[in-house]
Symmetry: C2
Subunit: 454 residues, 2 copies
């Protein structure tokens, strides 16, 4: 009898909410987000107690346990871990010294690129050749490159308003530069950090070796370091650099995605996924990239539960593991979903930092896009106006083939790449109101798209 009464009350509560004005629901969501500190404290814990939580690290394991508990605390109906294969890579000691007969010696701020092979403890010492793109590299040819350290120094184009476009225009030096230089006999590469900022933080990120290429050590240098190296090279083209980076790759292992869900009240077999990635580069607290996205997903669960919002579909918050090195968390999640025959209605990723929300990007066309863009009217009171075509994220992209609508959370990104993949990505750079405006925007959008059948 007692259970029956509880069920009746819950069903009535559910009808009451469905009958309510969505505008009022959104107000409740924003009110709750802007007056609660749970998500901010969760982020503080991730930043300060699991700093450097790259897949395979003890910090990553700690972050898994913490977010699992946070999802339970948020009130998720079910919380579980999902096995994810991962590469294992560890940073070693690092040093990069310019040695010039004209200018003397100077150390530059560097960081090994993720998955890079290392040097010996002694390192490598060689002349340096500066290039700006692969065409320039190839034009120089094997004769000029062989035995040298290649220095890629193409900056992000700061004229591009979209900071992600600026990043995209520079990042192939990091991802493919080692392979391309190796083909011409280079012994190592130093890559200008892919950031719009001029500062002394080196920014790491993954580098890929083509299978039939001799892998050579690859490091990123801060933009100030890159400017200095370029300037020293102009003054003394014969300068040499002594580079030590004793990072190492280890045999593959496994880790976990962390998943928490609220079971759908009407269509429990249809899924909406909201996620960020729980791993962060080993040199970073991973506040904006992407602890913030994780705590926003958990916060959606907490807010729905706190306000008694009962989604029709099953709504999941997913902390994807290993986005940074090889995206295996997103792949494992989609593989398992396919294996189980799950129907994935929509997926939203928050992995562009947690500054003030500007809106959402939708990978949709025609009438579907129009319907999604029409949702913008609900967000006018919150000054969230950008409902644009184009969006998604790397961890949710494997769900696209299963028909999941792809949605990218779009905060203001002008400052994002000053933090991205660097020691500058700290908790202190996150503002609680901006973080929580984002949490509320995400929870609100999920609430609205679940109301509909798009």
């Amino acid at each position: 009898m007692r259970n029956l009464s509880v069920s009746v009350v819950l069903v009535l509560l559910s009808f009451k909410l469905i009958a309510q004005d969505p505008a009022k629901i959104l107000t409740s969501i924003f009110d709750e987000a802007l007056t609660d500190r749970t998500a901010y404290k969760n982020l503080e814990y991730l930043c300060k107690n699991t700093k450097g939580r790259i897949a395979g690290s003890p910090e990553a394991e700690k972050a898994i346990e913490f977010t699992k508990q946070a999802l339970i605390n948020a009130g998720a109906d079910t919380v579980w871990l999902q096995k994810v294969p991962i590469p294992v890579w560890k940073r070693g000691s690092e040093k990069c010294r310019m040695i010039s007969s004209k200018n003397g010696k100077h150390d530059l701020s560097i960081t090994a690129l993720g998955l890079s092979v290392g040097t010996s403890e002694k390192g490598v010492t060689s002349k340096v050749i500066e290039v700006h793109d692969f065409d320039e590299l190839k034009a120089l040819g094997k004769n000029r490159i062989e035995g040298k350290i290649v220095f890629y120094n193409r900056p992000s184009d700061n004229k591009l308003i979209n900071s992600f476009a600026g990043y995209a225009g520079a990042v192939n030096q990091r991802t493919a530069g080692a392979s391309e230089a190796s083909k011409l006999g280079a012994i190592a590469v130093i890559v200008r950090s892919a950031t719009q900022s001029l500062d002394d933080f080196p920014h790491t990120g993954v580098t890929h070796y083509e299978t039939d290429v001799n892998p050579i050590p690859a490091v990123a240098v801060s933009t100030i370091g890159a400017e200095m190296l370029s300037s020293w090279l102009k003054a003394d083209s014969l300068l040499s650099v002594s580079l030590v980076s004793t990072c190492k790759n280890f045999p593959d292992s496994f880790s976990y995605n962390v998943i928490g869900e609220i079971r759908g009240s009407l269509k429990p077999n249809e899924y909406i996924t909201v996620g960020g990635h729980i791993d962060a580069w080993d040199i970073a607290e991973g506040a904006h990239d992407d602890g913030g996205g994780c705590v926003q997903a958990i916060e959606m669960i907490r807010i729905f539960k706190k306000l008694g919002i009962k989604p029709k579909r099953t709504v999941r918050a997913v902390m994807f593991m290993n986005e940074e090195m090889s995206g295996t968390g997103g792949k494992a999640y989609a593989t398992e979903a396919k294996r189980k025959g799950e129907i994935h209605y929509a997926a939203l990723e928050s992995d562009r930092g947690v500054t003030s929300p500007r809106g959402f990007g939708f990978d949709a066309d025609g009438q579907k896009l129009e319907k999604l863009q029409a949702l913008a009217s609900w967000f006018v009171p919150y000054n969230i106006r950008d409902f644009d075509k184009g969006g998604g994220g790397s961890d949710i992209s494997p769900l696209k083939a299963m028909g999941a609508m792809q949605i990218g959370f779009m905060p203001d990104t002008q400052r994002y790449f000053s933090y991205h993949h660097s020691a500058n990505d700290t908790f202190e750079k996150v503002n609680i109101r901006e973080l929580q405006m984002g949490s509320a925007a995400i929870a609100s959008l999920i609430y609205l798209i679940d109301l509909q059948d798009l």
Copy 2:
């Protein structure tokens, strides 16, 4: 002959620009802003070399000299100083200690309010009574208030999306709290800092004494300090606070506005004013409030000159003095404009921080507002979308009576009050891209409204 040739070239150049597509001009403006570091370096100088530049301080004098030179360097046709009457107020030593028979002793982070009278060196010690608004204060009445320290503890309403509305709802405790408490015989007031943040920075700001009221010392306490004081009071209503704040008011003096202009090519007797305030609270570097607004105004001059943009009207960058204590810089500027019979077409103020630009607010109606809002289409490529009714600023408001269109620059303000009037308002909190997106937005809007006759 040489001068004639130069003039011909300049006139041709001017026609060329006028004939150009405004979209291309805007692209040039944004390109220039996003690839130049002058404004950012100017801001760094103001923050690091003229920190605490409250009107009347040596730092303010240094900031006047610096911005005068910066305007000359930017290429302004004329640069001058304009005399401004100012109050003179100086902070003394400060200490606020809770003394409780139950909890022991604890010091709180406080800062004297601007223009507050001080205590003696020994300070005052008294019981404390917590209130949240003037109604509550008045209901307590003279019997309960007399001889006590009044503690105003109404927080900013974090549910309000507009952070300025949250501030506005709390700030009368700071501006009028001392007067109201004094009327009931209080001996001092401690005011919760007007900020949405929960941290240990006390936020100052001006307090006003009504003329026939006994002025009593007034300080702000950090929000963490306010929470602690409130919690200690709940545990021990008899606790006392020992308060020292030896600030002092001195006889009025004078200082200067700094003005630089580009003479109008067609309507030199019509003026467009763009400004921020050069003074900053004595405890702050004044990065967001409002060194940023000043360097953006100077940057507009630099960009116009660099790109050869010749406005029809005379365009001025104005560094207003003494916005913080009594707004005399804005008043002096309008008074002088009126005396000279100047025609003021428009005025824009940047004093809401220098985070990413969201748009502009216009104090206009009807067709004029529609025309201004139509300008938004030019800003679509820069994702600057908010062209809303309502805007202006305290320094340009005296120009309104002269018919000047009032325009407020609107950046994202979610984090603004975590910096405002506190030691947390530092150069490091400003991102160069966000600052310069704002500079470009301002220069672009001024270029466009000068093209028109609104």
